[in-house]
Symmetry: C2
Subunit: 304 residues, 2 copies
């Protein structure tokens, strides 16, 4: 089942994830003078931990496809789906703990601590997100808490683990954790903008995909926080139901979001997160900041 | 939700689990001259890890009650059930990793390794068990592999962690791991016997509960391994369906198992596991062996 998930079962069908988190980790390790070999275990561990969360999220969200492949639960049933995710979680940690690890025990303990805290934080974010499904309003503070867990936790851990793998001090690693958190916020806001305004040739999904799924994304949460207006009412009415939103209404919701200025608001928060990242990187003398940003495709300030 | 699971939500309704694994761990630590305070983190960690597996098992098996309490998924839905189990798993490891831990880093790494390996082994056992549900035959070797994971892994880890917490060498801890595995086997066989022949006043469940649920227990697997006979056919026909077995046929299956000698076979394997445990304990000079056996209520060689 693990082979199926990663696409090892068919030649040339290897899962096409972007490997953002291990890349972030390895780039941080290199920036701090570490060798790839020292950071590779942690990079594999964080990618596997990310995949465990995807396997369980797909069950929780009822998603039948991921990266164009059938999801584990859809193919083998929910019980095997849960259990395979659990196994991935254990394997993630064992990757850091294997016998041939050359890292000193104190560093391994610190890295495991980061990875487990990130996992718990992810669960907190996911718990909020599941709870949102039956809500008719989500505040900006609740949305921020949710993405801090669901996206921020692993971005933060990726940078922190990269620094620890390179032998940095705990304090230095904490600076990278903050940098990763800022990148995570920018990344998620951009993902939300793409989920609303992105065209199919960029995202591979129909335009307005997040709205059709009634997903609580930044533009929606922001729009519902504006004073009463006709446009706010259009958004509120569309989300005041537990069902999906009919395809023909998605365009009306997007038009209302545009008139309210939700896209500009999202871009502003995205830009502010990048400014924060720049300030943190400057303060901590992180030379790789620009290259990491380019890699995350966060360089372009506006979404094309 | 975690409070609900453990029964913290209602005064006096605290979850009534037997705490076998932490007890096994603490008794091992004391036997090896450790202090309770040194072993308490690990004891809490293994009980929480056990509970994570219960929360996910209850979803996988569709069980709506545990210890007389509604299960998490039944009360809050499957998505929250999966996610709460994931959080418990992370919390289990964090219990061993907390900042005020007084154990040296090498020992913490060794203990985490044991705990993660046990988790992965549990998943392997659970994966086999889920697969058994749609099978019309399970071999004794497959059954043994399944219980070695589902029950043996945590019993083994309990003893091994108790020894490590007390500061034993890795080699000494491995001896305890083998002892725990033998106890786990005896415990599971006795559990299977109780699930078939146990009376309601002992088990709290209707007699023949495992058969009514079409569970692949030792007596069934053993009976299906005997040469063709009328009685074997009664058992085979009852299990040759994916549905539950009608209440009125459970008695026929138990009578057939009795005539085949399945109970005596189970008792023999149970006794042999205890003999193995005794031999391991004698070889390793484990004085607490008798007291641990009494605690696990494995002292009585036959099930009352």
């Amino acid at each position: 089942m693990l082979r199926f998930h990663f696409g090892y079962d068919e030649p040339g069908k290897f899962q096409s994830g972007k490997r953002l988190r291990p890349q972030l980790l390895l780039r941080t390790a290199l920036e701090e003078g570490g060798r790839i070999e020292e950071a590779l275990d942690a990079a594999v561990a964080i990618e596997i931990l990310h995949n465990y969360s995807l396997v369980h999220d797909d069950i929780e969200d009822g998603d039948e496809l991921r990266h164009g492949r059938t999801t584990i639960w859809k193919r083998f049933g929910v019980p095997h789906g849960i259990n395979t995710g659990d196994a991935l979680c254990a394997i993630s940690y064992l990757t850091l703990l294997h016998e041939h690890s050359c890292a000193p025990a104190e560093r391994v303990v610190a890295m495991l601590h980061v990875l487990h805290e990130a996992n718990l934080h992810m669960c907190e974010g996911q718990g909020l997100d599941i709870g949102f499904e039956t809500r008719s309003i989500v505040t900006m503070a609740q949305y921020r808490d949710m993405i801090a867990g669901k996206t921020g936790a692993l971005f933060s851990a990726s940078c922190e683990l990269g620094a620890l793998a390179a032998g940095c001090t705990w304090e230095r690693a904490r600076q990278y954790a903050r940098l990763g958190r800022a990148y995570g916020l920018a990344f998620q806001i951009r993902d939300d903008v793409l989920g609303t305004w992105g065209t199919t040739d960029v995202t591979g999904k129909p335009s307005g995909a997040d709205i059709a799924r009634r997903k609580w994304s930044f533009p929606i949460v922001w729009a519902l926080g504006t004073p009463p207006s006709r446009d706010r009412e259009i958004v509120a009415r569309a989300y005041d139901t537990n069902a999906c939103i009919a395809r023909e209404h998605v365009g009306d919701v997007i038009a209302a979001l545009d008139r309210l200025g939700a896209r500009a608001a999202a871009d502003a928060v995205h830009d502010r997160a990048l400014d924060d990242a720049d300030a943190l990187a400057a303060e901590a003398h992180v030379d790789a900041n620009a290259s990491i940003r380019n890699f995350l495709a966060l360089g372009a300030r506006r979404v094309a």
